[in-house]
Symmetry: C2
Amino acid sequence: MTDDATADCCAGAPREGGRRRGRQAEAELNDQRVLEAARDVFACEGADAPVSAVAKRAGVGMGSLYRRYGSKVELIQHLCQLSMEQAVLAAEEALASTEDPWAAFVEFVHRCVRARYGALSPVAGTIPVSEAMDRTYRRSRELLQELVQRTQAEGGLRPDVNTVDISRLIELFGRSFGSRCRNTADEQVQLRLLALALAGLRVTDGDPLPGPKPSLEDYENRWYLS
Amino acid sequence: MTDDATADCCAGAPREGGRRRGRQAEAELNDQRVLEAARDVFACEGADAPVSAVAKRAGVGMGSLYRRYGSKVELIQHLCQLSMEQAVLAAEEALASTEDPWAAFVEFVHRCVRARYGALSPVAGTIPVSEAMDRTYRRSRELLQELVQRTQAEGGLRPDVNTVDISRLIELFGRSFGSRCRNTADEQVQLRLLALALAGLRVTDGDPLPGPKPSLEDYENRWYLS
DNA sequence: ACGTAGCGGAGTGATCCGCTCCGGTCGACG
DNA sequence: CGTCGACCGGAGCGGATCACTCCGCTACGT
């Protein structure tokens, strides 16, 4: 497997993408492969998937994986961090497009779901929260707040929903998106259900949502308690 | 723990609920307790939760549990069976009430979600399907088909959804309902999201759902392939 | 008062998983 | 072209966990 990579990027001429060459190029490539594989594996099989599965999917030995990440927890933390950064980016871009607020909002949700934001939410409370994660989360929270308010004011988002509602919605679909590594037919159904929920987010003439608006505190505490 | 049970049902006067008395009454009670505990534990922690957790939650020894169910798989199969029977019952009652088809449909979905129908769907493909399961599933499928058609004809259910869509919706919320054994605040959020999706099921003037209607075959094959 | 049905839970063997460590490989450099 | 060492893959280790068994005990029924 690495043979391919070696043949592709090391033995031949310098690659346009990588800065370094030879062995170091392979190392850099492996970095990406590990990250991608980890996202897939953990999103599909849950955070208790064996690390060896990640290594195998990345086409990389255990040694190479553990040289980059000191432990499984560290790897997962890094994954969470990346997820949240993606969400931040998506939110920023949604806020930047002022043309159709509702469409921008929908696009934001879709991007979060597809980036599997929240696919790792089941690990909440089982790994420590790094400072980087905390910082990025805080930023994403602010942006989401802003986005929700704007969409409620100008985009037709029903006023009785919360940032927590939206977060949970994204997590719900982000978690099950591609869950259990099923075929793509599964993903299509999930997208249909997501479309259903999004349609429901627009309706305001129906019944109001049951219960009180969920509290931000409860939402966040999942990550800290036990 | 069993001391309580003994004091309650065995040492005292005959209980009105149970047919038998004394030791046999405790046995019968334990039966129920095991079932209930198993449903909770597996729904919350996933099907790979240890059997000992079920026993502990039921307040019952491992011996008592294994006398009733020869193996963990057998227990899970029984649980699936019960879930589906509940769904069948809910569907029958929904079809029986002819007054407000939409309300009956909503009630049906809620009952299924609350009964955690589909909480065990992640085990699909990991345990053999008993004939009883197969039979009950087939019956539930027929009833759901009928219910969906009626609600589409008379209840305002949008026409571009499928029985599979509905099943997956129920599974989605049934699985995450109470997932990870969180507090009840979590359940309230889930109910809000469910209400959102149900609202979306009613809208017909918005965009149509993306993709083709999901195929029943794909849906069912999850239980048989690998 | 005794036999025994039914109980709880410690123990067991096997599996699995995170992580380490080492022999091999191949680019880098003189 | 020879040597060196950075980096690689993956076998193996130690410990944790889990499904399941087995046995001593309790207390009901007679």
